[in-house]
């Protein structure tokens, strides 16, 4: 089943949900929704991969199910598990009262984890399933996802196959700590979320921090861009620049200047070496932020 989605309209609605998406991201999400296929978002930490799922869920009024991946994630934690304690109690109770043995694999005893729960949407686009940081899971889990993403069904040996009536919107994110199998990537739309342009970053800052002065938002975005242009261990993502703008606001600054630059760096850079690099270049970064801001 496919439903056309107007990409520009989707972008507008994402904006209303507090998320600024560029052409590529809006297209990727729109295709995923329209063709009911998963989308894989890759990018450095802090560029807004997880937030994209949150915003998409808000757009469709869907509930967001999040599955955080880690090594050793197995079906019992990701898809379903049986409530063993309850099963044992049911057996004992049936014995004590000489009743017929209850069906031990009825719904009552089934614990629905995110993947199984995602198959239970009551309407189209009713559920957004976020499979976060898939690169942290191991090969075995990836192999299981192949089946899940192909059929949107889970086979439970005791119950048979449970299939989705309305397919969930599936978003996978990866930080690229390892390469994913191509078999998995082939089943997804793919988008790389890069660092934003200055204009887009200003837009994002103002959307997230409405009380932030336009001048400070522009200073922060330009300074963040200047920082990213330097050789840093960890170039700051959007999450960090939002933190930074918030910190500067708390410090009572209305423009970025040398007095607040140094002390507030800890909220945007997370390595001592990076902070040293930034301190050494404080003058030129502040100047770059303000000059262009004024121009």
């Amino acid at each position: 089943m496919s439903h056309p989605v107007a990409i520009d309209d989707l972008r507008q609605r994402l904006m209303q949900a507090g998320y600024v998406a560029d052409d590529g991201l809006a297209t990727a999400l729109g295709c995923a929704v329209g063709l009911e296929r998963a989308v894989l978002l890759e990018g450095d930490a802090g560029v807004g991969k997880t937030d994209a799922a949150r915003a998409l869920a808000a757009v469709y009024g869907a509930s967001l199910l999040r599955l955080q991946c880690y090594e050793g994630l197995d079906l019992a934690a990701a898809a379903y598990d049986w409530n063993y304690g309850k099963q044992l109690l049911a057996i004992r109770a049936a014995e004590a009262s000489h009743d017929r043995m209850p069906d031990l694999y009825a719904d009552d005893f089934l614990i629905r984890r995110p993947l199984l729960a995602a198959l239970g949407a009551e309407r189209a686009r009713g559920i957004v399933l976020l499979i976060d940081e898939i690169d942290r899971a191991d090969d075995e889990f990836e192999a299981f996802l192949l089946e899940f993403l192909a059929d949107f069904a889970i086979s439970i040996p005791e119950r048979g196959t449970i299939a989705a009536i309305h397919r969930p919107i599936v978003i996978l994110t990866s930080n690229r700590t390892r390469d994913l199998h191509d078999a998995l990537k082939r089943r997804c739309f793919y988008h790389w979320i890069g660092h934003p342009t200055v204009e887009r970053e200003i837009e994002i800052l103002r959307l997230h921090l409405p009380e932030l002065s336009p001048a400070l938002a522009s200073d922060v975005a330009r300074a963040a861009a200047a920082l990213r242009a330097r050789e840093l261990r960890k170039p700051p993502g959007i999450a960090e620049s939002i933190d930074w703008a918030q910190t500067l606001g708390l410090l009572g600054a209305d423009r970025l200047d040398a007095a607040v630059f140094g002390p507030s760096l800890g909220s945007i850079l997370k390595y001592p070496e990076d902070i040293d690099t930034a301190r050494a270049a404080a003058g030129s970064i502040v100047a770059a932020a303000r000059d262009e801001g004024a121009a």
Binding site: E71, G72, D81, D138, E140, R178, R186, Y190, W192
Partner: protein, 380 residues
């Protein structure tokens, strides 16, 4: 309703000509996207093509080239017309550029000749194994080197394991298995007679080779590349990188049978031949692009280098400190160490020394076996 399959298939061919194997599934997806969400501008077409067909951000440059070639430049309105016309005429798209010729695989006959050549000499290899074991690699002639490479194939495959988070059923497991026990009880009329348990599985730790392939190190690098290759074929989680002036991932070629691509990749690391080695810079790009993302975490890194740093030795020291924090064990192989009077005078070597778990010469087969031990934390 338009049928976009020919357009998608043609674009797939154009991508393939540029070395991007998008595959049939992506092509079908792209065709469906064109059908369900027909683009109205070239820009829209571009993004639809990209989210459906681009396998990885690493392929972006080739993707751009193929897109421009096949559809026209981004702001060229003609591209859309081409799409519409193509779809209308239901005809395969214009000729995609020819693929690069792929060298034919060696024929059986050639293989026979090779084995015929090597067969009579096999006993010689066996008999001279002992004499080869202690000979430094740089003193070997061509036939000895070939024999040496075959002997490297027999060195023990090193691998250290750690407990995995995954569990499997085990008779003497340390955690009670509810599900297994309950299912077992079904066979005994609901009585819980057999206790089942699980135990943690083990998982191989990553093993990474960083090989200095500059002129003077070449014979030793060749031997370690061979060892890295044998290891990579035998066990998972092995990566190898070559560096001289810049770092190159030997990645996909490491496990292939043909030396040709592997040697080309190594050649790419020696950008500026004879220009000396920039160990610190190579380590920094390794740390930034690979180690920090997690490929080396909890693993062993084997560095082959003589420690002659062309640039600032301070950078090398800093990057070693960083690598130290990202890995479990660092083994440094320096062939000069075999000389009794050797002292780590090279500034780079002196800077790296405090961060090493093992410092070995690895200049001959026997010492290479010691490297295999050191990878697992055993000292000779």
């Amino acid at each position: 309703m338009i049928d976009a399959a020919p357009a998608a298939a043609g674009f797939d061919r154009a991508l393939r000509a540029r070395g991007i194997a998008a595959g049939t599934r992506r092509t079908l997806t792209f065709a469906e996207v064109l059908r369900v969400l027909p683009p109205t501008t070239t820009r829209e077409l571009y993004w639809r093509a990209r989210v459906a067909m681009l396998p990885s951000i690493d392929d972006l440059d080739a993707f751009h080239a193929a897109f421009v070639e096949f559809w026209g430049a981004l702001d060229d309105a003609g591209a859309l017309h081409r799409l519409v016309r193509m779809v209308g005429e239901q005809r395969p798209p214009r000729d995609a550029p020819k693929r690069e010729a792929i060298p034919p695989p060696p024929s059986d006959r050639a293989a026979d000749e090779r084995s015929a050549e090597s067969a009579p000499t096999r006993w010689i290899v066996a008999s001279r194994e002992e004499s080869l074991r202690d000979r430094p690699f740089e003193e070997l002639d061509d036939s000895e080197r070939a024999a040496m490479l075959r002997l490297i194939d027999r060195i023990r495959i090193a691998g250290e394991v750690r407990a995995s988070r995954r569990r499997r059923v085990h008779a003497h497991g340390d955690r009670f298995d509810f599900r297994g026990t309950l299912r077992g009880a079904a066979r005994t009329a609901g009585e819980l007679l057999v206790r089942r348990a699980t135990r943690r599985r083990t998982r191989l730790r990553p093993l990474i080779f960083l090989l200095d392939v500059s002129g003077s190190m070449a014979p030793f690098a060749r031997a370690l590349v061979q060892y890295a290759r044998v290891t990579a074929i035998a066990r998972p989680r092995v990566r190898a990188f070559a560096f001289a002036t810049r770092l190159t991932d030997l990645g996909p070629w490491l496990k292939r049978a043909s030396d040709e691509h592997l040697m080309a990749a190594i050649g790419a690391a020696v950008h500026d031949y004879g220009g000396g080695t920039r160990i610190g810079a190579a380590l920094r790009s390794f740390n930034e692009r690979y180690a920090q993302r997690g490929i080396a975490r909890g693993g062993t890194v084997v560095v082959l280098s003589d420690g002659w740093e062309r640039d600032d030795a301070g950078l090398l020291g800093r990057e070693m400190a960083r690598l130290r924090k990202l890995t479990r064990r660092i083994v440094w192989v320096n062939p000069h160490k075999r000389h009794a009077a050797y002292e780590p005078l090279a500034r780079g070597m002196a800077a790296a020394l405090p961060y090493l778990d093992a410092f070995l010469s690895g200049h001959s087969l026997r010492t290479l076996e010691a490297v295999a031990d050191a990878i697992e934390g055993r000292t000779a």
